[in-house]
Amino acid sequence: MIAQNPRTLADLRASNTAKVQSLTGDPTIQQRLAEMGLTSGRDVRMVRVAPLGDPYQIEVLDYHLSLRRRECECVLLATDSA
C-alpha cells in the first residue's frame, strides 16, 4: 500500500466506474473539479478516451464531462472499488 502509486481517474479503464477518494495537485484545478461534482465518495465513470489518447470523457452526477489527462491525474480513486 505505501509504495504503491495511488490509482487516479487517468488509470480507470473505459466503461468502468469507481468512487472518488480525494483530489490532489494544483488548488485551483482541485477547486474546479470539486465544483463540477468530483467530491469524495462520488461515483465516476470513464466513458472513453478521445481518438488521439487525450482528453477523456467521463460521467459524474449523471452528466458527461471532458477532462485532460492532467486533470484526471488530480482525482484519486478509492481502492476498494477495484
Binding site: A34, R48, P51, Y63, H64, L65, S66
Partner: protein, 726 residues
Amino acid sequence: MSSTQATTEAIPVIALLGNPNAGKTSVFNMLTGARRQVANYPGVTVEKTSGIIRRQSRDFELLDLPGTYSLTARSPDEFVVTEILLGQRDDTNPLAAAVVVIDATNLERNLFLATQVLESNLPTVIALNMTDIAERRGITIDSDKLAQRLGVPVIPIVASAGKGRDALVDAIEKAVGGTKPKPICQWPDAVNDSVDALTAEIARLNGSIGPMTPYEVRRCILDANGEVERRLLAHTSNDGSLADFIYEQRKSIEAAGQAPANLEAEVRYACISRIVDGCIERNPGVRAPRSERLDNLLTHRILGTIVFVIVMTAVFSSVFSWAAPLMDAIEGVFATLGGWVSSSLSEGLLATFLTDGVIAGVGGVLVFLPQIMILIALITLLEDCGYLARAAFLMDRVLRVFGLGGRGFVPLLSSFACAIPGVMATRTIECPKERLITILIAPLMACSARIPVYTIFVAAFIPQKTVWGFLPLQGLVFAGMYFFGIIAAAIAALVFKNLLAGRTPTPFILELPSYKAPSVKLILWRTLDRAKAFLQSAGTIILAMSIIIWALLYFPRPASLETQVRTDMQQAGITDEGEIENAVAGEYLRNSVMGRIGKAIEPAVKPLGWDWKIGMAAMASFPAREVVVSTLGIIYNLGDATDEESPALREKLQAAKWPDGGKVYTIPVVLSIMVFFALCCQCGATVAVIKRETNSWKWATIAFTYMTVLAYIGALVVYQVGTRIS
C-alpha cells in the same frame, strides 16, 4: 447610488444567472421578447446584456450575467458577477432580485450555483428549465417540495417553447421587495472562525478597501489565488503579513480536516444531496439516454473522426453553395442601385460619391452577409444540439500542440466566414494566454472577404488545366490558399505560445451536454442578431472607410489635367470618346492623393514584383481587403462597376505591361499578391474588434503589425524564389 433618490421610479434590476447549457439565453429571450441592449463593463471584456420584462403594473430590467458553474472569481472578468450581486458596481444599480436558471436533467450540479446565489442575500427565484427533456428521460422533480426546502420559489418551465413564462414573471414580481432567502449550507466551525479572524484583521489593518461582507471574506479564504484575495492584498498596504495571515487561516482549516480548495464543494454537494433527496424520482424503466448511444458513434476513435470530417466539409460546402445565389442577388441589387443613381443624377461630384464611394464600398462588404448568416446558423445549430462540444473534445489534442485548446475550435471555425464573430467567440476560452493566441491567429483564417481576391487572380492567371487528369488546377490553388492560411496560423500560434508570458495548457474542463433537438427560435435569433451587428459595422466603419478611400482616389482633380490629356490624345490621332474618357480617368487617378502615395511607395513594393498600381490597390485595401477588386477596377480605367467576375478586368490584368513591355502579372507576381492578401491584416473592423475584446490597443497593434510584416516577407519570399525557379 443613494444620491439619486429623486429617481425612485428607476425600474428594478433582476439578475439572470445559470450554468452554461442550462438554457439561459432561451429564458432571457422568453422573458424579454428577445430584445436586448448590449454594452461593455469598463475595464473588463464582459458584455453587459440587458432587456426589459414588461408587466401591466411595472417593468423590470433583466440583466443577463455570463453563464458560469460557480461564483468563484478567478479573474477580473469573473469578479464582475460578484460585484454586481453584492451591489458594488457604480455602473449597475443594486439588484432587486436574482433568477437562477437550472437544468432539470442535471439538478444537483446546477444547484451548486443556486446555493451560492442564495448566500448573496438577494430575493431569488429558481427557473427549473427543460422539464420536458427531464420527463422524457424518466426524471420527475417535485418542484413544490424543492421550493420548500430551498426557501425560494421554484418554477418549472420549458423556455425554448415559451412554457411557464407567466408563472415565472409572477414569481419575479412577488420576489422583488420580498423576503431575503436564508443560506442553506452550514459551514464548518473552522471556516466560520477563520472568517471572523480575517474580518478582524482587515479592520485592524484599515486598508483602502473598506469593510468586506462575510461572503467576500469567505471567498477570500476559500479561493486560493482568487480575485477577492488579489484585490484585498492590493488595497491593503502591508509587508506581506496579511498574505501570511490568510495562509495561516487556510492551514488551520486544513488542520481541522478539510483541504480549503475543495471544502466549499464538499459542503455544498453534501447539503444539495440532502435537499434533493425525496424531491427527485427516476423511472428505472427508461432506457439509457439516447445521448450516450449517439456518443458511441460521434466520439468514437475512428467513426467519430470520420463523422467530424464529414460534418465540417458539409458546413463549408453549404456555406459556399447556398450563399452563392444570394450573393449574386445582392451584387445585382447594388449594381442596379448604382446604375439608377448615376443615371438619375447628373454626372458630377455627388453622383460619383454615391456610386463609387458609398454604394460600391458598402455593397462590396454586404455581399458577405449571406455567408456569415449561413455559417452562424449552422454553428448555432451544431452548438445547440450539443455537437460542437464534441468537436472541441475531438480537436483538443491537435490544437494543444499549438498552445491552443479545444475551446479555440469554434472561434477559428467561425473565422472562416469572418474574423469578427470569430474573435468575439473567444470569450468562452478561460485561459488568458490561450484566448490571446486564438485572437491573434483568427484573422489568418481565409475569411470570406478573401474569396473575391483569390477568385479574380486564380481565374485570370491560373491555367484551366487538370492535375493527374482529374483535379482542376484552379480549384487546387484555391484550396491551397485556404491551407496556406491554416499553416501560417499554426506557425504563428507556435511562435506566440513561446513568446507570450503565461502557461498552457490550463485546465480543459468542458461539459459535454446531452444531445437535444436544436431550437429553431434560438438559431433564428442568433443569426439575425449577428447579422444586425455586421450591418451596423458595415453602416459605420466600412462606410466611413469607403468614403475616405474614394476621396483619396478622387482628389485633387484640376480641370487643366483633362485638357492636357485631350490635347495629347488628339495629337496622337485618337478620336474615340470612350478611349479618351478612360485615359482622362486614368490620369486623374495617377494624380490623386492615393496615386501619388502609390508612386511614392513603389520602391517598397518593387521587391515583391509589384508595380505602383498593385501597391496602391493593396494600400487602399487596408480598411477592407475586398476593396482591392474595385480599386483595381478604377485603376485600370474601367470605372468601378467592375466585380471580380468581370471578364474585362481579367483581360486588363492579363494585358497589363511594365513600361519596358514585360508582363506585370507573371505567376510569381500573382502568387506574391495572393500570399500578401492571405496574410495581411487588411480589415479595419477586425482591428477594432481585437481592440474591444482585449481591452487594449496594444494587442490590436501587435496583431496588425505582425500580420502586415508577415505578409510583406511572405510575398517577398514567394516572388524572389518564384522568379528564380521559373
